[in-house]
């Protein structure tokens, strides 16, 4: 699950860099522009996922 999380973060980071240096990833990947999301939205999802994940780990280690 940490792996999935890191993939999600990595995608957000890639979108950030591509956006900043004007690399048209939407065009190259032939993504549907209606459903592509900006890196702030992706990071937001990643952040809440990370909170859930780390609190689960925290509780798995401390409570059990």
């Amino acid at each position: 699950m940490a792996g999935l999380l890191s993939v999600h973060w990595s995608w957000g980071l890639q979108v950030l860099v591509w956006t900043r240096f004007r690399i048209n990833y939407v065009y190259i990947f032939e993504l549907d522009p209606r459903f592509t999301r900006s890196y702030t939205q992706i990071f937001s999802d990643c952040a809440s996922d990370s909170i859930v994940f780390f609190s689960l780990v925290f509780m798995l280690v401390w409570v059990c």
Binding site: Q14, E30, S48, M59
Partner: protein, 388 residues
């Protein structure tokens, strides 16, 4: 329990966290433990959260699943292999360790081991290796196939590209790259390592040679073909660059070479990984120092591979934007990307980077703290049980 599950389903992520902290404060899990439900609930909740994120909202996630389907069976998709599918396939080959862990978790839950460990030890986490971990279906079918399949998908994609374009270069040579990797992993995974010392030695020599050749070949492919770098005419770079500093490119080239070796290591299934560098025929993997080292290295290798894949993607897309490398698009020109809905924050780039870095450090530090503390706690538990 059904009520609890229903409430859990209806909440969003942040509410779930709040609920959990409330539960901890009121010591709800301790009460649950009396019913034999303790550790499993966290594992299940994690799986549920991952499942939820991967499926909802469906309008946005549908593209991902369609791409995964296209990667798995490219002959079923109408326009054939497109650039996005090869990209997803490449990312999948990087996620092998992650899939192995997920598979382990799913097996662990499905076999009921989650609940059993909670019952047997009353919360003591002396992890007993479950029987299915060494059983034939897991050890010889499930784990190797998870390692093998992403490479196989990429291999098939290369052959499909060759079939549709008719160009031997670069598609057949790319297929050769994945073929080499598959050979390395399959030999590493399935060879019976504890026969005689001489056989093992020869096998190890052969395997390590293959390993090095395959890794150098893939690193060469990354740098020269995927990124279009390494041209002597342009001081080992390409004719045009979109990223501002030249040392980005040089450090990426060096980093790719180093991290490729780490990556091939992650491709070996966990059951075989400890035996690869075995010390001798008499020693079981659990005794060797390397297996302990391997346990520590596995998550780090997984993260490093994601880092490598991330910057690989950055340069791959840059090259694709500038050069239309393998003819995926009919028109060479790619319009520059401009955000139509800019969400500008008031901070400059550097301060945001520091902020993110700070948060990352806090998270890593707390993770390390948890690991260290838990280790100390289990140690004290172990000594307690020894004394009693």
């Amino acid at each position: 329990m059904p009520n609890f599950a229903l409430v859990f389903f209806l909440l969003n992520a942040k509410q779930k966290v709040l609920l959990y902290f409330k539960a901890v404060l009121k010591r709800l899990p301790v009460e649950l433990k009396d019913y034999g439900v303790s550790e499993g609930i966290f594992v299940l909740a994690g799986l549920f959260a991952a499942w939820h994120r991967l499926l909802f909202p469906w309008v946005q996630r549908r593209g991902l699943w369609q791409a995964l389907f296209a990667v798995a069976c490219p002959w079923r998709v109408n326009p054939g292999v497109c650039f996005f599918h090869t990209y997803v396939g490449d990312v999948l080959t990087s996620m092998v360790k992650c899939f192995l862990n997920l598979q382990f978790t799913v097996f662990f839950v499905a076999s009921g081991g989650v609940w059993r460990s909670a019952n047997a030890h009353h919360g003591h986490s002396n992890f007993v290796q479950p029987a299915w971990l060494q059983s034939w279906p897991y050890d010889h079918v499930a784990a190797p196939s998870v390692v093998f399949l992403p490479l196989w998908f990429r291999f098939v994609q290369c052959l499909m590209r060759f079939k549709s374009t008719g160009d031997r270069w670069p598609h057949l040579y790319n297929a050769l790259k994945y073929g080499l990797m598959m050979t390395v992993t399959v030999f590493g995974a399935l060879h019976p390592l504890y026969t005689t010392l001489r056989d093992t030695l020869w096998f190890q020599l052969f395997w390590i040679t293959l390993f090095v050749v395959s890794t150098l070949y893939s690193a060469y492919w990354d740098i020269c073909l995927d990124w279009g770098l390494g041209k002597l005419k342009y001081q080992l770079l390409n004719d045009r660059q979109m990223y501002p500093k030249k040392w980005y490119y040089y450090s990426a080239m060096v980093g790719d070479l180093v991290l490729r070796f780490v990556w091939i290591y992650t491709l070996i299934p966990p059951t075989a990984a400890s035996g690869i560098i075995a010390l001798g025929p008499g020693q079981t993997p659990s005794q060797s120092l390397f297996s302990k080292l391997a346990n520590w290295l596995a998550p780090i290798a997984m993260l490093l591979e994601m880092v490598r894949r991330t910057f690989w993607g950055l340069f791959r897309l840059e090259n694709e934007q500038l050069h239309n490398t393998e003819g995926y698009r009919r028109v060479n020109f790619v319009p520059l990307h401009f955000d139509h809905t800019p969400e500008r924050l008031n901070t400059t780039g550097r301060s945001v980077a520091y902020e993110v870095l700070g948060f990352g450090l806090v998270i890593v530090a707390s993770g390390a703290l948890v690991i260290v503390l838990s280790g100390r706690r289990y140690d004290s538990m172990a000594t307690d049980t020894d004394e009693s």
